[in-house]
């Protein structure tokens, strides 16, 4: 319980600091918001007026406070480019990116746990060697190229889906998810490779532990040792990797949305960066970072549940 309270405290502080940093980052941009909105042609007077109107003349912390309150209430400002509320733009895109990320995550777990166990158990033998070579190869493919290859294979050769034929979830969840499975796969594959490698070395390490010998000495079969003792222990270090992978998955989806021309959060972010549409960039960044921090929090809690030693330290 004490562990949980401590973790929640850390979570809140981390969220605050992240929001503050993101806020400050966009305060130091050369040429402030007023300039961005009006363009370089505007006169000094007009700029001053707009600055006052936007509240840019108040102290930084005060502005941060009101920005944060607005943000929590769902008011994320207005897009410079489209002059519509940022929150609406995000509300429309968020489910798309979330769906990709969740599918990629599940895919990663489903593939890397069994294969990692297998490679660890047969380490040094043929299945392990083949798997490790494939692993290294997959890890060397840039994310977007993986996306292109998958488009090629499943879209153009096998015709399992139409590249560029994205279907919005408003038109139907089935086709929507059916399309998104391919970018999710492209994101998950490199993560799988890494997850397999980590779990493999973790399993190898655990298999050499004394308690494994003890388990054998009591008459456990190989299978019972592997699933009854080794699996749980070797997943511990991998859980930390999963938490980090969440951040990576979200980041990769920014790129893969481009490859598969999907109008998600990533596409929005890239467009806004090109357009220097700062309110949108800021909102997306804060949201994504917040999401990652919250997921990390849950992983930490999960860790505490699996490992009885955590409560003590």
């Amino acid at each position: 319980m004490k562990y949980l309270i401590k973790k929640i405290g850390t979570l809140i502080i981390t969220l605050l600091i992240i929001s503050l940093l993101s806020f400050l980052a966009f305060q130091v941009i050369p040429g402030d918001a007023a300039l961005s909105k009006l363009g370089t042609g505007a006169t000094g007077e007009k700029r001053e007026e707009l600055r006052r109107e936007m509240g840019l003349d108040r102290p930084v912390l005060e502005r941060y406070g009101s920005w944060l309150l607005d943000f929590i209430r769902g008011d994320m400002g207005e897009s410079y480019t489209y002059s519509i509320p940022v929150s609406e733009m995000i509300k429309e895109k968020l489910p798309v990116t979330l769906a990709i990320a969740v599918m990629a995550f599940i895919c990663m777990l489903a593939v890397s746990i069994p294969l990692g166990l297998l490679a660890g158990k047969y380490s040094g033998r043929l299945p392990d060697k083949i798997l490790m070579v494939l692993d290294q190869l997959v890890m060397s493919v840039p994310g977007f190229f993986m996306g292109i290859l998958i488009t090629c294979l499943f879209g153009l050769v096998l015709h399992w889906f139409t590249p560029g034929g994205y279907v919005s979830y408003q038109e139907g969840w089935g086709p929507f998810l059916g399309y998104l499975i391919f970018p999710a796969l492209s994101i998950a594959l490199p993560k799988c490779a890494m997850g397999i490698k980590l779990l493999r070395s973790s399993v190898i390490g655990e298999l050499g532990q004394d308690y494994v010998r003890t388990a054998y000495s009591r008459g456990n079969s190989q299978r019972q040792v592997l699933f009854g003792h080794v699996l749980k222990n070797s997943l511990l270090p991998v859980v930390t990797f999963w938490a980090l992978a969440v951040a990576d998955i979200v980041a990769s989806s920014v790129i893969l949305e481009q490859v598969f021309t999907i109008p998600g959060l990533g596409t929005l972010l890239v467009q806004s960066i090109s357009n220097r549409d700062h309110p949108v960039v800021q909102a997306v960044i804060v949201l994504v970072a917040g999401l990652v921090v919250v997921i990390n929090f849950f992983v930490d809690v999960l860790y505490g549940i699996i490992d009885p030693r955590v409560e003590v330290h």
Partner: protein, 267 residues
């Protein structure tokens, strides 16, 4: 058996990484054709002896473009490592060895940074700095600092509590000499391994950013951007995207294997 496998990794990785490094270095100074010269007659030309990778939609020689792009990639990766690994290693050494509140503060900050996916962080930096080769180096360099600091720090912490460091203290060896002469050589395996991985991450990040159009900008060549342009012609001219992709994979694969070999040698 295990050992042999890793030595094999190391040899293959070493050779591959060596060849690719030479390829990238050549690309910095020399290309067989001018990568920008367009030739309408060579539009989508197939691979041939004269144009080993074929030509793109404007009839430009893909091999020359890949070569030049590799040069840029190399420059970006090395620049990134110089900033990221240099600063990170220094911070890791100092905080790991001396501890105290600076260590505490930097590690907390590090934990925070980890919450931001690195490419996202680089994207923010680019959105603040604007795109371009040097801004990419700066952005990626800064983004890479925490991971290096973390790796070096945890290694230093393991070593500084070993008795041989105490023994050195008793000999009258100063802190700086302990850090750089006694400890640093013992963590070089980990450091090399981290450098190789860092190199790969830099290459992949740069390619990703350039693919999105917010990385290296023309006139600098970039493999990532080439592939973004080639994607539209994937069926009519698959070579325009395949060759750059394969070159990039070989680059990353070589350093990946090398890193594997380095890391497991000490284990």
């Amino acid at each position: 058996m295990e050992k042999g496998f890793y030595r094999y990794n190391m040899v293959v990785g070493g050779i591959l990484a060596g060849v690719m490094t030479v390829f990238m270095l050549v690309g910095l100074f020399y290309t067989p054709y001018d990568p920008e010269t367009m030739d309408p007659f060579l539009k989508f030309a197939h691979a041939s002896l004269a144009h080993p990778f074929g030509c793109d939609q404007f009839g430009r020689d893909i091999f020359s473009r890949v070569l030049q792009g590799s040069g840029t990639t190399f420059l970006v990766a090395v620049g990134t490592l110089a900033i990221g690994a240099g600063t990170g290693t220094f911070l890791g050494l100092a905080t790991g060895y001396f501890g105290g509140w600076p260590d505490e503060a930097i590690m907390r900050f590090n934990d925070l940074i980890v919450a931001f996916p690195s490419i996202l962080l680089a994207l923010i930096s680019i959105s603040l700095l604007g795109p371009g080769k040097y801004n990419v180096i700066l952005a990626l360099g800064i983004v890479f600092i925490p991971s290096f600091a973390r790796i070096v720090r945890s290694e230093v912490i393991v070593h500084k509590d070993m008795d041989y460091v105490k023994s050195a203290r008793l000999m009258g060896v100063g802190h700086m000499r302990i850090l750089f002469v006694h400890i640093l050589p013992n963590i070089k395996g980990t450091l090399f391994s981290a450098l190789a991985i860092g190199f790969n991450n830099a290459v992949l990040s740069e390619a990703g950013m350039s693919y999105l159009g917010i990385g290296v900008q023309p006139p600098d060549a970039s493999i990532g951007r080439m592939m973004s342009e080639g994607q539209a012609y994937i069926f009519t001219a698959p070579w325009s995207i395949l060759f750059p992709g394969v070159v990039m994979i070989l680059m990353v694969l070589g350093f990946g294997l090398l890193s594997d070999g380095c890391g497991d040698r000490d284990a």
